[in-house]
Amino acid sequence: MTNRLKEIKWREHVIYFIFTGIILLFSVLLFDRGFLTGSNLMNIARQTAMISIMAVGMTFVLAAEEIDLSFGSVVALAAIITAQVLRATGSIILAILAGLLVGAIIGIINGLFVAKVGIPSFLVTLGMSGIILGTARWVSHLQSIPINNDTFTFIFGSGDIGPVPVLFIWMILAGSLGHLVLKKTPFGRKVLATGGNKISALYSGIKVSRMKMSVMVINSVLAAFAGILYTGRLHGARYTLGTNEVMIVIAAVIIGGTSMFGGKGSVIGSVIGALIMGILNNGLILLGLSVDQQMIFRGLIIIIAVSLTMREKKG
């Protein structure tokens, strides 16, 4: 019995060892290439912020034993709509609201199909991702939409406050808020109960379908927000945003200790998982690996890290 408890503790904390291990490894390997310099670390934070924010949302989805494959295209569509509204109206508030609204609407549609119609979230969101991406390509005519509103780009992506990138602040905000909600509020507990055992949750008076609905909406809204940040950071929106990040985000969340089978989730773990992804990216580039080699290495490291975190005791 004690062994089992140790096993669980190990699995929960292995993420921090991986994190430290990778930092140490790169610090040694890349000592003379500026890995540990402040500017490089802040660069990593910038590159990781959006992944982290999406990972926060995905933590809720996986904790409730659902999945969302459509959030990558939500990033693209929300970014495009935000950029278009900003260009048309010049109002930052309207632009942000429009972007977030896109996320909320898509989340509600996903949620309705999952919770009310009862279609597996895998299928609903797979289908939705096509619809959303198609819409994004259509409304943007496959063109980039440039933004030159300095206030917008400062707050939502490009600015620094002292040495600290604004993106880093957004990441910390989303992470802390997500952690608080999942770990400390009744809502978070009900999400975990739903993922841990839907039937028991139902027999305990928890409105299971409302929980499913909520996690789908949270994830889409956070993805939309990530889309807004991409727009601010890149000074424009494009339909290609986000779609490459889907697997990276899901991997980050799982490495972070959230179970794919629901009931267990750690927002902090997910953020660390996202940081690991960012550091890997950065380190592999600094090591001078080609894009092909980077892809192979990243894939390998993801598999190894996930195997370590998912190690289950037999019997």
Binding site: K184, P186, G196, I199, S200, Y203, S204, I206, G315
Partner: protein, 495 residues
């Protein structure tokens, strides 16, 4: 050749330095039905898991018909001739009966393909050997069968391996009396074929009906091996508890059936239950005696908002209420201890305290976060008052014993301040001490003016425990009994 089909001697096993089994000797003769008896936590599951190849013993030998064997997995044990029928069903719900029976083996083939016709014939043969071939079709999907019938398929599946030793873990627990009788007939048949049966059950009376001999295990040590005819029930119960057992007479003072009923059902109809009229008065424990499939569980689930109500009225304290969901039921003060604690009652990977407050989590809000202090207080209160054996409120419930898990489910119901407690076989698979403790908790609850609706697969419990009893058959309440009845009366009436 040895007279013992299985002879395990000087078995030791420790987990993390905790010595669980001490020099255990366990043997079963060929063609013998042998009971392995002990309270939960005595070590009988551990011993069986060693015999079945799930756990690796630290020391000791196991021989099959005099031949020492080493095996380390259930598959190897199966090859050695040891098959086990699991308490937690291991069937695939979406497959048919025949497909399930031959799931691992697929012995019947046409080239590369499964010969479904041949497999079907053989499955049918196995079913007719158990005497259920008229009730169960081999083409039925397992998910459409009752738990009782699924248990029988599970046995047929084990038999398909032609085992020399068959381990039955609580085989009768979910069977109706008729099914139990036919199971016993099968056991007799198997016995005549020279198969040894290791029989594990909490239904001690069954041991005297069907077993030739028994081994009693307590605290990881063998206390004795006796022939059943040499001992009696009283002796066995005393020995199990180590001389601490006290005979239980409930001595309940009957609640008055007058005034406004706490719960009143008027002509309730759902898909499974018909024309249900029922009343529970404050302080009353009302029993429902019915066989598996009588609609007893469905009635409770209807009252808890899980099954859909078609027509009829539910009144709480004389006021009609809407119970269309479990959360509405809890708001009206109705809670359910469901039939299957692991699947319906608990989130197994949640801590004890999180399970206990699961129904009232919204009421524990301080600002926007859950009040941990209050949660801990509530959890500790119930851990103490229900005497839950746990390392603390933070322990994950998966690793608690069945009795303690059930207490957590009961605690969850009590924590929501319910007025009406629905109990669906709350003592199933629970050891005798925990069982008595749970019954005591229910009595205390009722004596505070609350109402209880109680189902049990042991009619003895209903007869001895309930103030009044409804007999349920085929979805209908057929009789109301307010006088004292015996277990035998009930057994006859529900047929």
């Amino acid at each position: 050749m040895s007279e013992y089909s299985i002879n395990a001697s000087a078995i030791n096993i420790s987990f993390d330095g905790v010595h669980i089994l001490h020099d255990v000797d366990f043997k079963v003769k060929a063609g013998e039905v042998h009971a392995l008896v002990g309270t939960n936590g005595a070590g009988k599951s551990t011993l069986v898991k060693i015999i079945n190849g799930v756990y690796k013993k630290d020391s000791g030998t196991i021989s099959i018909f005099g031949k020492d064997l080493e095996y380390n997995t259930p598959e190897e044990a199966l090859k050695a001739g040891i098959a086990m029928v699991f308490q937690d069903l291991s069937l695939i719900p979406s497959l048919t009966v025949a497909q399930n029976i031959f799931l691992q083996t697929h012995p019947y083939r046409k080239g590369l393909l499964i010969d479904d016709r041949k497999a079907g014939e053989n499955a049918k043969e196995l079913l007719s050997m158990i005497g259920v071939d008229t009730e169960i079709s081999i083409n039925d999907k397992v998910e459409d069968l009752s738990v009782g019938k699924q248990q029988i398929i599970e046995i047929a599946k084990a038999l398909s391996h032609n085992p020399k030793v068959l381990i039955l873990d609580e085989p009768t627990a979910s069977l109706s009396s008729a099914e139990i009788e036919s199971l016993f007939t099968v056991i007799e048949t198997l016995k005549k074929k020279g198969i040894s049966i290791i029989y594990i059950t909490h239904y001690l009376q069954d041991i005297f009906k069907i077993c030739d001999s028994l081994t009693l295990i307590r605290d990881g040590k063998i206390i004795f091996r006796e022939d059943t005819i040499d001992i009696n029930l009283k002796y066995l119960v005393d020995a199990m508890a180590g001389g601490e057992s006290e005979s239980i007479s409930w001595n309940r003072k009957k609640a008055m059936r007058s005034g406004t009923p706490l719960l009143e059902l008027k002509d309730l109809n759902t898909e499974k239950i018909k024309n249900i009229d029922l009343k529970i008065y404050p302080g009353e424990i009302v029993g429902i005696a019915g066989l598996l499939g009588s609609g007893r569980s469905e009635l409770l689930e209807t009252l808890f908002g899980i099954e859909k109500l078609r027509t009829g009225k539910i009144l709480v304290n004389g006021k009609a209420v809407d119970i269309s969901s479990s959360s509405k039921a809890i708001d009206e003060g109705i809670t359910l201890v469901p039939e299957n604690r692991r699947e319906q009652g608990l989130v197994l990977d949640f801590a004890v305290e999180d399970n206990i407050v699961m129904s009232i989590i919204n009421r524990l809000k301080k600002f926007i976060v859950v009040d941990r202090e209050k949660t801990g207080k509530i959890a500790n209160h119930y851990i103490q008052s229900l005497n839950v054996k746990t390392q603390g409120p933070g322990q994950v419930v998966r690793y608690l014993s069945g009795g303690n898990q059930q207490k957590i489910v009961v605690a969850k119901c009590l924590a929501s301040d319910s007025k009406i407690l629905l109990l669906d076989d709350p003592t199933f698979g629970v050891d005798i001490h925990a069982k008595h403790e749970i019954m005591k908790i229910i009595m205390d609850y009722a004596s505070k003016g609350n109402g209880v609706l109680f189902i049990s697969s042991e009619f003895k419990e209903i007869a001895g425990f309930c103030d009044s009893i409804y007999i349920m058959k085929k979805g209908r309440l057929t009789e109301f009994l307010s006088e004292d009845v015996s277990e035998d009366d009930l057994l006859l009436k529900v047929q």
